[in-house]
Symmetry: C2
């Protein structure tokens, strides 16, 4: 077969060293989240198609991979009015919709305030490009059943702690609140039915700049007066100053008349995060009145993680109080925070510090098998990792490769050690 | 929504305790395999549809979940001559086809003898029934690039060691060789084109018994003389004696004229496994001339793990030398061994022995947030796991639930501890 043999487009294999590195980073994140009181769960990678396409996934629904019904006949194909009619399942595009479904399924078996860890792959049929994959891992924590800002404070503290442990202690969490966004748009005079479109445009502020956003709003919505009110606010010198997180910073960044209860909540969040981080530390939060977050299901505080070393966000989340009710028929408050693992793993360096001894036994191709395996067993019994390796001509290359793979000692297995494993001489690998 | 909200048919969610238990079992298996010199890899859950349906997966190909092409039009649906035309990807039904594809993709970056661990889910649209799931985890080890029985010996020893560590030290590996099966069928006079059908019937020996197998062969193949030769062999008193593994046992169980080179290899395997297990131990192998293994790709020694406590197999594997050549155009020897994780995890008891301290802080619903989080941070800083838990009316029930979840200590958080974390009094949880 002359074709290049590759994984499917936009998806990746992991070589042993990459796999080990990824697992080390995941183990650190998992451990921090566990220590903060969260519990890991697992759901199937597939969900019922109707649930994935219930309008909760926003644009991601369009990127879902659809799984065909089994046993379809040609008649079924020809009778179909649209492709999704032929699908009954789909690969999850995020971990939030599955969590909402999971909570609806298992509520009676879960604590009243449920703190979930989900570390798992999701799939999106994105146009492949650098740094975008069609299968990628998300690290989510969610708190279900807690309506107060206590949930947000715990999520932010756990996420910052995980980033600290990964060596990314300069991370900043941008904060806003959907209720403030909606209030602002209402005050400016936008019609509620235009909110989604307006927010999609505001979300591009970093990319388009203020003028670009105002221009795009002009193309998209009919209300010139509302756009002008928004423009005037956006151009105020103090609007985008990003002061150190405080009540003053939040009030300065917002138009007059912003909901004082919401502001008070965000102020309390800052105080709580500062307390959780220790008294000396600066609050690693920044209020951003134009932070939008893509998903339509957010209802309260929203977050995005920034780090000085990269121009993109490392994660984010927010409160989605209405969502579980969609599955359960009974509203349950919920808020979540997701770290973008694929971006993190490229950014951090987590050396293997297990310190485990690993022994390579270089042997002749025709070494007697029973003796060779008895020797391997003898070294295994000492607690070491052991690999049998038929000697190749280029010994230096072989030893270099074994060292690169993490082997720490080796032996050239001769007849003496094969006859009596206690005579084996192990030498250090550079 | 009044409908029951459940995961898709045949698929499962895992509650925190189940998830933790599964991960503990997987960690043990992974650790044993690593110590035996294997390296973990990962492939995407999806493979190109054409590769999954290349004839290597046997009956499992029919059970593959197919993923629809994106952007299909209604015209595409109506022009399709069969459902698979509309699919370009599929969920893997095993880990062997993806490994063969992976090796073909990455051969230049892998050691000449490559020992792979794959611990990952696979998907099959099985008819749901007790103990059969549509998403389930397999634990595979494979050795690629080693044509000698050294590979089989290492796989068997690593698998038995993993089972030992899980407390299943009475496991027995049933052994046969595809070459002996083919030789036997040839000698009896079956036509090569009938071999697959004959083997499918022989594979039912445990279920149908000797008479049942002979009767089914009579319905399936035309050669009365071959069936009679097989019947006569099957009815010999010594054919199914299952003597302790030895050259004599293998020779006794086989018809006259069995390939002496293959017999010698299987004898050497027994000697090697005995040496690897330690001199005093009985060889945990049993030669079974009627072991077939379902997959058509096997070319040499084949295995199945039996355990006295259960009537079903716990895993199995074999040599599949021709398979990688199908992707690479260049034959590479390979052999693999798969443990059926879902069956194992139901069978073994692996208590949590991390011994980690876990503290529950029971607080009033209106406890001041900043102080509460400073208190949590103070306990986290001691290295403990910490969970905040709003106090409920039934304290006994709450403490029982926390203890069941693995929490080891608790405190009733009062104003004193909130003002000064050093005054917190932790009490043991029963």
């Amino acid at each position: 077969m002359a074709d290049a043999v590759t994984p499917p487009r936009g998806m990746r294999d992991f070589l042993p060293a990459d796999k080990a590195r990824r697992e080390r980073v995941l183990a650190i994140i998992r451990d921090v989240y566990r220590r903060h009181g969260f519990d890991e769960i697992e759901t199937p990678v597939l969900e019922d198609s109707a649930r994935l396409h219930a309008g909760l996934g926003g644009d991601n629904e369009k990127l879902a991979f659809a799984v065909m019904k089994r046993g379809l006949s040609v008649t079924d194909l020809h009778a179909a009015a649209e492709p999704l009619e032929l699908a009954d399942l789909g690969l999850r595009f995020d971990l939030t919709v599955p969590l909402a479904r999971y909570y609806a399924t298992h509520r009676a078996e879960l604590p009243s305030v449920f703190r979930a860890i989900q570390i798992a792959p999701v799939w999106r049929a994105e146009r492949p490009q650098k740094g975008r994959y069609r299968q990628f891992v998300q690290c989510d924590i969610d708190i279900v059943g807690e309506s107060s800002i206590r949930a947000e404070a715990e999520l932010v503290l756990a996420s910052l702690d995980a980033l600290d442990e990964l060596g990314l202690s300069d991370a900043i969490v941008r904060v806003n609140d959907r209720r403030l966004l909606f209030g602002m748009l209402t005050d400016f005079g936008f019609a509620p039915e235009d909110f989604d479109a307006v927010l999609i445009t505001i979300d591009k502020l970093d990319k388009l700049g203020p003028e670009g956003v105002v221009a795009e709003l002009g193309e998209r919505t009919g209300s010139a007066a509302a756009i002008e009110a928004f423009r005037a606010f956006l151009m105020r010198p103090q609007t985008r100053e990003y002061l150190p997180y405080s009540e003053r910073a939040i009030r300065t960044a917002l138009p007059e008349g912003a909901d004082p209860d919401v502001v008070a909540e965000l102020v309390a969040l800052g105080t709580a995060v500062a307390a959780g981080r220790g008294s000396g530390a600066e609050v690693p939060l920044r209020f951003d009145p134009f932070l939008v977050r893509g998903m339509g299901y957010y209802t309260g505080p929203i977050f995005e993680v920034a780090h000085p070393s990269v121009p993109y966000s490392l994660g984010g989340g927010g409160r989605y109080d209405g969502m579980i009710g969609r599955f359960l028929g009974d509203d349950v408050p919920a808020t979540g925070f997701s770290l973008g693992f694929e971006r993190l793993v490229d950014l951090v360096d987590v050396p293997d510090e297990s310190g485990a001894d690993a022994v390579a036994l270089l042997h002749d191709a025709d070494a007697p098998l029973a003796e060779l395996l008895a020797l391997k067993a003898a070294v295994l019994a000492t607690g070491s990792r052991v690999r049998l390796a038929p000697r190749i001509r280029n010994t230096k290359r072989q030893l270099d490769e074994l060292a690169a793979e993490g082997f720490t000692r080796f032996a050239m297995v001769g007849t003496e050690a094969l006859a009596d494993p206690t005579t084996l001489e192990l030498r250090p690998l550079a």
